[in-house]
């Protein structure tokens, strides 16, 4: 019963996540960009634009210019999240890929860093009046959700250890459509339940910032309007030209 519920939940979550994000990306891609609007100074070439985006994704360059505390907490959270995700690959690979195995020790600390970064961001949201003013309930709940995932995960590693071998069997079972029993550990149920929820809300929430960044014309356009005529169909042509 439990196994069936969680197995189905993850199938649904995976479909919503992949299908939803794919739909949004397709929607962004097909929406026209009527004019050149890069925020300048901007790179003059496509290659330069790729570097600009890489700096935004890897270093959070603009955020660094804007606010050092938000940058610190945000960057630590995201970097740690990446390590944690990599560490989780060991549940889905058999045998575990070499580089995933090599990353395990870092993933070990990353869980704490991730929660610390999230708590820092949450503290700003609560204590800085400007940030509190712009926060909706969903902004707090999103942080609560991620902290919940992080804390339940850490709890299974350090407080109430879970049967990792059984978890891995369950995860691999999902991938190969050969269901294995889900361990009935309450902390694990909470952890996996929250993860499924995160996957489901991803395409309908602000988590769209991850794909969105790549589609922002202010960042992804090259500054070359004089060198190469930019000529999409006009959005609303002048009356005299219709």
């Amino acid at each position: 019963m439990l196994t069936t519920v969680y197995a189905l939940l993850f199938y649904v979550a995976a479909v919503v996540l992949v299908g939803g994000v794919a739909y949004r990306v397709w929607q962004y891609a097909k929406t026209p960009v009527p004019l050149k609007i890069p925020t300048t100074p901007a790179p003059l070439t496509r290659g330069g634009v790729v570097m600009r985006l890489v700096r935004e994704v890897v270093l959070f360059e603009s955020l660094f210019k804007a606010n050092k505390w938000t940058w610190l907490f945000g960057w630590v959270f995201h970097a740690a999240l990446l390590l944690v995700l990599i560490r989780h690959l060991r549940y889905f690979t058999e045998p575990v890929w070499g580089w995933v195995a090599a990353m395990q020790p870092f993933g070990f600390y990353a869980g704490f860093a991730m929660v610390a970064g999230l708590l820092g961001l949450w503290a700003r949201r609560i204590f800085v009046p400007r940030v509190r003013y712009i926060s909706a309930p969903s902004d707090h709940l999103m942080l609560a959700l991620l902290v919940g995932i992080g804390v339940s995960g850490l709890a299974m590693s350090y407080v109430a250890r879970t049967d990792i071998v059984a978890v891995k069997a369950f995860c691999l079972g999902l991938i190969y459509f050969d269901w294995q029993p889900m361990p009935a550990d309450p902390v694990l149920l909470v952890h996996l339940g929250l993860v499924a929820l995160l996957m489901i809300i991803f395409p309908v929430s602000k988590l769209l910032h991850a794909p969105g960044l790549f589609f922002a014309p202010s960042r992804n356009q090259a500054d070359d309007p004089r060198e190469r005529r930019y000529a999409p169909p006009l959005r609303t042509p002048a009356r005299s030209a219709r």
């Binding site: 949004r24 929607q27 962004y28 929406t31 026209p32 009527p34 004019l35 050149k36 609007i37 925020t39 300048t40 100074p41 901007a42 790179p43 935004e56 959070f60 603009s62 955020l63 210019k65 804007a66 606010n67 938000t70 945000g74 961001l121 949201r125 800085v128 009046p129 400007r130 940030v131 003013y133 712009i134 909706a136 309930p137 969903s138 902004d139 709940l141 309908v204 929430s205 602000k206 769209l208 910032h209 969105g212 960044l213 589609f215 922002a216 202010s218 960042r219 309007p225 004089r226 005529r229 000529a231 999409p232 006009l234 959005r235 609303t236 042509p237 002048a238 009356r239 005299s240 030209a241």
Partner: protein
């Protein structure tokens, strides 16, 4: 010796920080609103004359149309994570303390409606994500706060996703125009350009007379015949400049500067009475239709006059519209000489001549001026000059350094890409918004105070017609003379040495006779 007094031992002072963050005062600017466009102004540029009965449905439909035809808008409305990085970046927030002037809060005024009608979360869980129905109150908020954004893009520099509140403001204004809730200042002006070719409604005869007067003034002052040609078919260069250059101070001194540069370069140039305006207020109201119409005037003028090049005078948003949009809206310009940038900025033109050593300057003519430079935001964050990113910062400075002995930059976090708007851009340069304009100028004025105290700076050069007018108006409130704002090409005009010019010795102009020589200057510098 006025100069001595100004430069006397500089007192170290406590400067208020230009970026100082105020305590939030919700609603502080809720009553700030521009005058509404009259029926006549609205219909003249293709909008309903008054608020239509089914305005709500039409506004929502228009929003839907805009998000599906503008990727930027859609992505910006979706991706904001409410990180708060932009909250302290807007000069209107810093100056007014009204939290709705924080860029993300301004976007949220539109975003909450977008979410309500166009997103899953907002349709089914509005309270969770702060989605709201479009009501009369919301429309009032839009009208107020989307007219407290000068579309300067400072917020966009700092947002981790480049979310550009200027785009959001333009969209909101376009929606309001489409339901009959337009703003008088912009819409009246756009109507004038359609009719007369410029923002002022200046007609050809008056235009010509003004230029002739200026020619006389230049000849009286320099003894050289410098022409300001109008509608001269077959000239090489068409100069398109903001119409404020024809009558306002200090703009007009900039125009004289362009004319002297063209004269000295031996260039064949002309202005056009048909396209006698560089500004494109269609951009401020987000109306691509009107933007296109205004851009086409410039193309037609260039074709009719059979010119080979187009050069733009000093104007911030006009340069954005020209540099980024002209080619898209009115191109391709294959009938122009492809060896020159299309379009070119007057600063690029002058700078090239300086680089080639073709202009001679007597910098001492500007020794009564200790100068700083205001980077106009539309030039800084929405365009470029020259071949390198950031040329828009370096080229005007190079011109100023070539023409003036005393140049000092304002604090680094208030210039170049971080520049603070003058407070009057984006279609807000109207008297009923004076309170907003004064408050919005505060960060820039504090930065200026900083160099005035530190380096005895007396003047600030600007490169935008709106900035110049705005500064001339608000500077007295901050303890500066209204004529302490100067045009970049005014500095050029002061210092340029024309062939055959009457020299200082036989010049009876008091101001120049009083200017101290270089030796004295150096002594003071060391003191």
């Amino acid at each position: 010796m006025v100069e001595l007094k100004i430069r006397a031992p500089v007192q170290p002072k406590e400067h208020p920080d230009p970026s100082e963050i105020p305590t939030l005062e919700p609603g502080a600017m809720a009553d700030s609103k521009p005058y509404s466009a009259s029926e006549e102004h609205q219909t003249a540029i293709g909008f309903p004359g008054e608020l239509v009965d089914d305005w709500k449905e039409r506004a929502i439909a228009k929003l839907g149309e805009l998000v599906s035809t503008s990727r930027g808008l859609r992505v910006y409305l979706d991706t904001c994570v409410k990180c708060g990085a932009c909250t302290d970046k807007c000069h209107y927030f810093l100056g007014t303390a009204d939290p709705n002037n924080m860029p993300v809060a301004r976007q949220d005024l539109l975003r909450k409606v977008y979410r309500r009608y166009f997103t899953f979360a907002g349709k089914y869980f509005p309270w969770l994500v702060g989605a709201e129905d479009l009501t009369e109150e919301v429309l009032d908020e839009w009208y107020s706060y989307f007219h407290q954004c000068s579309q300067c893009r400072r917020c966009s520099v700092y947002c981790p996703y480049g979310i550009d509140t200027a785009e959001v403001s333009m969209a909101a204004r376009e929606i309001m125009d489409s339901i009959g809730k337009g703003q008088k200042y912009c819409n009246e002006i756009i109507g004038k350009v359609h009719k007369y070719g410029n923002n002022l409604g200046l007609q050809e005869k008056a235009h010509r007379a003004t230029l002739e007067d200026l020619e006389e003034d230049i000849e009286d002052e320099t003894g050289v015949t410098v022409r300001l040609p109008l509608d001269e078919k077959g000239a090489d260069i068409l100069l398109v400049t903001p119409s404020a250059d024809f009558f306002a101070e200090p703009h007009i001194d900039g125009l004289i500067g362009y004319a002297k540069v063209f004269h000295q370069a031996g260039a064949s140039w002309t202005m056009s009475s048909y396209a006698s305006e560089a500004a494109n207020f269609g951009m401020f109201i987000g109306s691509h239709e009107n933007m296109h119409e205004l851009a086409l005037r410039i193309r037609k003028a260039a074709e009719d006059l059979q010119v080979k090049r187009i050069i733009f005078g000093e104007c911030g948003h006009a340069w954005r519209a020209a540099y980024n949009f002209l080619n898209t809206l009115a191109g391709p310009f294959d009938f122009l000489d492809q060896n020159y940038p299309i379009p070119q900025h007057i600063c690029e033109y002058t700078y090239d001549l300086i680089e080639k050593g073709e202009l001679t300057f007597d910098k001492s003519q500007n020794d009564h001026i200790r100068l700083t430079f205001h980077d106009s935001c539309n030039v800084s964050r929405a365009s470029r000059m020259g071949d390198e990113p950031g040329g828009q910062f370096d080229i005007p400075r190079a011109i100023l350094r070539a023409t003036c002995n005393h140049f000092y930059d304002m604090p680094a976090d208030t210039i170049r890409e971080a520049t603070f708007c003058c407070g009057g851009g984006g279609g807000l340069l109207t008297d009923e918004l004076m309170d907003l304009r004064k408050k919005g100028a505060q960060p820039r004025m504090r930065a200026l105070q900083d160099v005035a105290d530190e380096h005895g700076v007396t003047h600030m050069a600007a490169i935008c017609a709106i900035c110049k007018t705005q500064f001339a108006k608000v500077m007295p409130d901050y303890g500066f003379d209204m004529d302490s704002v100067v045009s970049v090409h005014q500095m050029v005009s002061n210092a340029i040495v024309l062939d055959g010019q009457i020299t200082d010795d036989d010049d009876d102009d008091e101001e120049k006779a009083e200017a101290p020589g270089n030796g004295m200057d150096a002594a003071e510098e060391q003191a």
